[in-house]
């Protein structure tokens, strides 16, 4: 037992968590005693004896599970344990519950954890729609309702969509660029392990006195600065999700810039790699803003720092500026990796090179640049400087241009191809083009100030965000999961169940979110537990489709679990892809490549006679070392 408590693992993690929580608690109590204050403070915004352990306990867990072992030994001048790679790869399901530095294991850990939170957040959505099926209050009270939609949004954004893309890229991206692993494998493991902690903090806020945080995922001050203890769980949880995101983005940037296989120039990178390069540029520069602003709210709550206390010289609107300076780029963090996935899926299943590859890559960079200059379009009615509205309107409308380039280029890719629709991945990709276009169109409408004045904070907004986030991001996630499932698990999934899942999801998405536009324009505000009876029938319809959408996800869950265990063995390259991940076995060998591949051409050279993207070890002689790149000609 004593030995188990010394080794990195769950026993030591439990011990360290308890010790760290006790340390945080003791620190607060002792310092307050020394200062002559009462040991416990239970103002609703206070509870430092709870909030400080919320920060120390997760750090203790990370220490115990073993995320810091190597660095601590090195930092303390102790002999480090040389990496013998014995922990690489996963030999049984238990290995997924250990700190592992293999990018493929971490990728799976990310994906499974994110789907866990997807289903928890989805259950909350079902409760929300059950309450909204009828006017009046039936199932949950207004306070619980506010907690439910706030937690639903936070789980879906911070611990589902964002880390899901990090997980897919974690698995696929190093293989695609011919790298044996990520640049910083230990940092990669730390990034992953912060993620479940963030999610658990969000969910645990339901246990706090006063209930879970209920100021929306936006957490606008001063509603959030005066909210009960649950809000602090959000403030702290965002720190862990945020640092996880930032570390992963740094890792991707360094990996993409320095670890590409010989011959893989920037213009030979698959678009998924371009997409994650762009996303990472957004994450490293924007995410510190939400970390900072949530600390400011936490300080206002605990220490009365008055950042946003209007009675004491604070400025309420500055919260929104800082928040949206992260949270608008965040919507691109939640869609650009999906754009990358769609490009891979469409090109592979249409057997065609990407149409206008270079413009596609430049469009991603264009979105990155523009997305930093549009945040105030969330604030057209917020009472900010009125002159800022028109310039922000124009930048917002212009961002439709690079987004349109993506859509038209995907369509162009289909022409004169050989489109295979037997794969569920391709079905989701094709549907995403149309569904995302609808979300993009309502986005342009919202960018126009006079119309936005009417529909801001109504159900039109709820409709728009779900069309881009569910019809956009989640469809791309499903496309990506189905596309790379054989590669990740070495098994094929069931296409029949995949089709059931696809058609149910498509119908559920349109049926749920299209009528929301109508009730919003007609006068139904968002974030309300109760509403005027005139909207009753539409809401009942919306709820019915929402239950369909929720139920059909169980088909997906069943398909994934059963196929992973019992599915037929997958060949190395079931879709006939050209990029490097398809040139290794399914699942790939523990170190990806015996010898680093050599890249000799573009990634989408379908139909080009004799063209190769990469040459794997031991087959170098047959192909000339340099081929003219036909990309962009």
């Amino acid at each position: 037992m004593a030995d188990a408590l010394k080794r990195p693992g769950w026993y030591r993690a439990a011990l360290c968590t308890v010790l760290a929580a006790a340390f945080g608690f003791g620190l607060v109590v002792v310092l307050r005693k020394i200062s002559g204050l009462s040991a416990f403070q239970s103002e609703q915004t206070g509870y430092p004896q709870v909030v400080v352990p919320l920060i120390t306990a997760p750090l203790g867990f990370l220490l115990g599970i073993g995320c810091f072992d190597y660095w601590l030994r090195w930092g303390l001048g102790m002999p480090t344990i040389p990496e013998d790679h014995s922990s690489h790869g996963a030999h049984s399901w238990k290995d997924y519950f250990k700190v592992n530095t293999d990018h493929k294991v971490i990728g799976i850990q990310y994906i499974v954890t994110s789907f866990f939170f997807f289903f928890v957040g989805g259950l909350m959505a079902m409760l929300i729609r059950a309450e909204l099926a009828q006017p009046g209050t039936q199932i949950v009270g207004a306070g619980t309702f506010n907690s439910l939609f706030s937690t639903h949004a936070v789980l879906m954004i911070f611990v589902f969509v964002i880390p899901m893309f990090a997980g897919i890229a974690n698995y696929v991206l190093p293989l695609m660029i011919g790298a044996p692993d990520m640049a910083f494998p230990r940092l990669n493991a730390l990034s992953y392990w912060m993620l479940p902690l963030a999610g658990l903090l969000f969910i645990a806020s339901f246990l706090a006195p006063g209930g879970a945080f209920d100021a929306g995922w936006t957490g606008y001050a001063p509603l959030s600065t005066g909210a009960p203890l649950g809000q602090s769980f959000f403030n702290v949880g965002v720190q862990f999700a945020g640092f996880s995101s930032i570390f992963t983005a740094l890792n991707f940037l360094v990996t993409i810039i320095t670890m590409r296989a010989p011959g893989m120039t920037f213009w030979r990178m698959p678009l998924l790699v371009w997409a994650n390069l762009s996303t990472s540029l957004l994450v490293v520069a924007a995410t510190p803003f939400i970390s900072g602003v949530q600390f400011m709210v936490l300080f206002d709550r605990l220490m009365h720092t008055n950042f946003f206390q209007f009675g004491s010289g604070g400025d309420v609107i500055s919260y929104q500026h800082i928040f949206w300076f992260y949270s608008h780029p965040a919507v691109y963090i939640m869609i650009l990796p999906g754009f990358g996935i769609i490009s891979e899926v469409i090109s592979t299943h249409a057997r065609k090179p990407i149409f206008g590859y270079r413009l596609m890559a430049l469009a991603l960079i264009g979105i990155v640049v523009l997305s930093y200059s549009v945040w105030a379009h969330h604030m057209f009615v917020a009472g900010m400087f009125s002159w800022l509205r028109v310039p922000m309107m124009f930048t917002t409308l212009l961002i439709a241009v690079p987004t349109g380039i993506k859509v038209f280029s995907w369509l162009g890719t289909l022409y004169f191809g050989k489109i295979h629709t037997k794969s569920t991945a391709m079905l989701f990709a094709l549907a995403m083009i149309v569904t995302f276009t609808v979300g993009g169109i309502s986005g342009v409408m919202l960018g126009m100030v006079p119309f936005d004045i009417h529909v801001s904070d109504t159900y039109f907004i709820v409709a728009h965000i779900h069309f881009v986030l569910f019809g956009g991001s989640v469809f791309t996630i499903f496309a990506g999961i189905y596309h790379w499932f054989p590669k990740m698990t070495g098994r094929m999934y069931d296409e029949k169940l995949g089709r059931v899942h696809f058609w149910g999801t498509l119908l559920g998405t349109w049926g749920t979110f299209i009528p929301m536009h109508w009730v919003g324009m007609d006068g139904m505000p968002r974030r309300v537990a109760d509403y005027a009876s005139q909207f009753g029938n539409w809401n009942l319809l919306i709820s019915c489709f929402a239950f369909l959408l929720g139920a059909i996800q169980l088909v997906f869950l069943y398909n994934m679990i059963v196929s992973w265990r019992f599915g037929p063995k997958a060949p190395a390259n079931p879709w006939g892809g050209k990029s490097i991940e398809w040139l290794v076995s399914s699942p790939p060998p523990i170190f990806n490549f015996d010898e680093i591949p050599r890249v000799v051409g573009g990634p989408y050279e379908y139909g080009v006679p004799g063209a190769r993207h990469a040459i794997m070890a031991g087959e170098g002689a047959e192909v000339p070392a340099t081929e003219p790149s036909v990309v962009g000609s």
């Binding site: 606008y220 509603l223 590859y357 400087f385 094709l430 006068g523 309300v528 139909g607 962009g632």
Partner: protein, 269 residues
């Protein structure tokens, strides 16, 4: 790339006809529906015209995407058992420039139109009246000029066909002022005074809805709005017994001194 690489080999005329037909059908249906409800302020018809413009432009864009996708799926599906690749077409610079430039023109046009509408709906007519809006969790109250700041709670009266300049103040958290039939919305922000301009054009009764999440009572934070003739309004204000409470007046003064309203701050520069 040879010129006309694609146009020779695609039924461009038929596809264009399909786009025209589909966008005409979508526009016809969507333009015939009154999405936003009654138009009871000078701003409402202008905003609805803007929406109609967007419906037509959106219908065209949507139809282009749908027709392009549908034709591709019709014409370029792989035959069962066909494992071969498609044609190695990597792009077409003219086409790519086209689908960059045309959307740019469309959005700049839509932006210019919006800018014009925004200026029009916020233009001061001179025939105006200032009404103070006070919000707190979860109630609205209103102060009227003239007779020493007459005060009404839970019900707002305004005269018809006169520009009302609402000066908004919040006592606790952010609330938002919305009358859907007027199409006008503005947040009430604690610590500053915000402004919204409305000219009601019809006599009637409406509901004022709070649209910014403000706590558990958010869904029920409503007030009655009565638009009446100038003379009826004057008579109603005369009959008001209450004055705006001193603590509200003090907070208004503080708002304006510590943090002048954004519009005025910019104009002063």
């Amino acid at each position: 790339m040879p010129r006309g690489l694609f146009s020779d080999r695609l039924p461009i005329a038929k596809m264009a006809a399909a786009v025209v037909a589909l966008s005409a059908a979508i526009s016809a249906v969507m333009l015939s529906i009154n999405w936003n409800g009654a138009e009871d302020s000078t701003a409402a018809p202008k905003i609805d015209d803007l929406l109609n413009l967007m419906i037509v432009l959106s219908a065209i864009v949507f139809s282009v995407v749908v027709v392009a996708l549908a034709y591709a799926l019709y014409a370029f599906r792989a035959k069962p058992g066909d494992g071969s690749d498609g044609e190695p077409i990597h792009g077409n610079t003219r086409l790519e420039i086209t689908w960059t430039v045309i959307p740019t023109i469309i959005v700049l046009f839509a932006g210019g139109w919006s800018w014009k509408v925004l200026d029009e709906i916020e233009e001061k007519t001179g025939h105006d009246m200032t009404v103070d809006v006070f919000s707190q969790q979860y109630a609205w109250s209103f102060g009227y000029p003239g007779k020493e700041y007459a005060y009404s709670q839970g019900v707002l009266h305004v005269p018809v066909n006169r520009q009302i300049i609402f000066k908004m103040h919040s006592q606790d958290v952010i609330h938002s002022f919305w009358v859907p039939q007027w199409r006008i919305k503005k947040d009430n922000v604690p610590g500053i005074t915000t402004t919204a301009i409305v000219t009601p054009t019809k006599v009637g009764r409406y509901q004022l809805i709070c649209t910014e999440l403000c706590g558990f009572g958010h869904a029920t934070m409503r007030a009655k709005v009565v638009v009446q003739s100038e003379s009826a309004f004057d008579k109603w204000v005369e009959g008001l017994q209450e004055k705006v409470p001193t603590d509200l007046m003090v907070s208004v003064k503080q708002d304006t001194q510590t943090n002048p309203e954004p519009l005025e701050r910019v104009e002063a520069e």
